[in-house]
Symmetry: C2
Subunit: 352 residues, 2 copies
């Protein structure tokens, strides 16, 4: 593990675990030369690796196993992770804290991952709650939306922290020097939304970020904004709805193109264009989202992650680690919070 | 107005009002033979009609004007409608209450429309708050989502009422005899979501509706559920995001197909298939949503409604009126509430 970064992969998390997680980890090692620690039931992992034809020499020591005897199931409350000290997601977090892995990937229980990341790895100073940040395709390029599911009800100061982290994430990962930050609401006008959002609006106006005001659902795709701040409940619904709509639309297109001989022939001729189309509207490339504000990388994928989605999540974790995004966010959040303490006072001007 | 139903159209509501609203009303009269009362500044309306070449004989008395001297602007608080007794949206509501119009259409301030509908037209017994119901395309056919913007934070009993209204709306408008009702959350498991949603889950289990449990954003499009219940903030974000994503995807497809000569030729050959594709993923057909639970039809369109969107909204209002959807919902909600009073007690078992 001297050369290159190591990623811990939760072998037991997700609807298709352990198969999808183990196969995805194997793909990451073989396709991308990644170094992976697979975390979970070692007998199950050994059996699955044999089934996949990995007798060890293929992966040349780049795939190692860390035993974890427990799992947080999808239907358990997130807090179960507190008492299950040997839960795979918690062992992953421990590997990151101890520096044995630079980042972790899990497709398991989002709430449990959030608690493990927060309590075991720890958050950057000034960050009360990590936020799950997704990247959406848009007319202008890409839009960062956060939170997409780790914080179901965020308070005013949390949404302010999301805005700050979103700003630096867009700078680092999307390469946007001065990202436009919008607050998701039900109308563009300053007074729109709930009392809480009106408070957030006033706070964001003073952050020194490039805050463009309220935005609506359509702005995510229209290229009018680079970072959209929202609480995790609505962000999650929009993310999952959008992914499904993109799949639905691709399905309708296929149906219509295969409907007649003439259009079937036409679609053959248009195949390269249609392939590029699919690549551009495919969300699965962004199948996993990082928990920003954690002192290390923690990527959370969909429960329904396939092996390919896990492989892509490892890829994103490597990219994130190579760019030191977590360290940069930590450093800049600290700077900004020093400045903001002067504006908002130590408690950021509001207790809620 | 003896033959056929009359629809009141708010000439002053929406980003492109009065032009789009007036042209849309005119299209409804000319294309569909609708009877419309245009509500707004009569001089502005007269000027715009002349500009559009409508000297009156074209519309043969099927387009009449009701003066309204005030407007609720998009950046005003919704409650402004309470003091503006001559606001166009409020005059529309008055026409419905007085029976001069069977239903109304507005692309103006959603909150103001909600207040006007609730206080001037009135709600059905057992309905505390009307809900805006949108129809999404899905693999299975269509999915009703409510609320999509009239109730930013709905309480437990409101969400129960939305479920009941959504049930009957899906029966009437989608022709679904036993609609599957889902509660929008961040995971399918019973315990997922906020405390409030866990309460709603328990309440919906006892309603006698075909409640299938929690659903996620992707279920809206996957055909696994027919009615999705949520509060207006998240519903609005999902609706607007979805509409924009569908437009984005169609744009990407066009770009890719026009990218090379070969694919341009192919797209010409595939033109009929691509047209059918666009029709199937086009949300603008559903540009306006009814406020369910109002004693009459009240359709609210996007602020950005075009003339075509207004024409389609009138079309939907006529369809809704022909089927007497409001009266049927009123009758059935009353029945169901009688039954439920036995289960939940008079206050539906919870005060929040």
């Amino acid at each position: 593990m001297a050369d290159g970064v190591t990623i811990a992969v939760d072998a037991m998390g997700g609807d298709f675990a352990p198969k999808a997680a183990i196969e995805g980890a194997l793909m990451a090692v073989l396709d991308d030369g990644a170094r992976v620690i697979l975390v979970g039931d070692d007998e199950v992992i050994a059996h699955e690796r044999r089934r996949l034809g990995d007798s060890g020499w293929l992966t040349e020591g780049r795939l190692v196993v860390e035993p974890a005897s427990e799992v947080v199931a999808m239907d358990e409350p997130a807090v179960a992770v507190r008492s299950k000290r040997q839960a795979s997601v918690r062992v992953c977090a421990r590997l990151v804290r101890e520096g044995r892995a630079r980042a972790m990937v899990t497709a398991g229980h989002t709430g449990a991952a959030m608690i493990a990341a927060k309590t075991v790895i720890g958050t950057a100073p000034g960050v009360d709650r990590p936020a799950l940040a997704a990247i959406f395709p848009s007319v202008g390029g890409k839009t960062v939306v956060l939170d997409v599911g780790a914080n179901l009800d965020a308070k005013v100061r949390h949404l302010r922290q999301f805005a700050v982290m979103g700003h630096f994430y867009a700078q680092e990962m999307v390469g946007n020097p001065e990202p436009r930050i919008g607050l998701l609401s039900v109308g563009e006008e300053e007074g729109k939304g709930t009392d809480r959002l009106r408070k957030v609006y006033q706070v964001l106006k003073k952050t020194g970020l490039n805050f463009v005001g309220n935005v609506e659902g359509h702005d995510i795709f229209s290229g009018t904004v680079d970072v959209v701040v929202c609480d995790g409940f609505v962000g999650n619904a929009v993310l999952k709805g959008s992914e499904a709509l993109a799949r639905y639309v691709a399905g309708v297109l296929r149906e219509e193109l295969e409907g007649t001989v003439r259009s079937r022939l036409a679609s053959l001729a248009a195949a390269p264009a249609l392939r590029r189309f699919r690549d551009r509207v495919d969300f699965s490339e962004y199948g996993a989202a990082p928990l920003l504000g954690v002192r290390g990388g923690c990527f959370v994928g969909h429960g329904s992650s396939s092996a390919t989605a896990i492989r892509n999540a490892v890829r994103r974790a490597l990219e994130f680690s190579d760019l030191d995004v977590d360290a940069k966010i930590e450093e800049r959040v600290a700077d900004l919070h020093l400045q903001e303490a002067r504006i908002f006072g130590d408690t950021a001007g509001e207790p809620s």
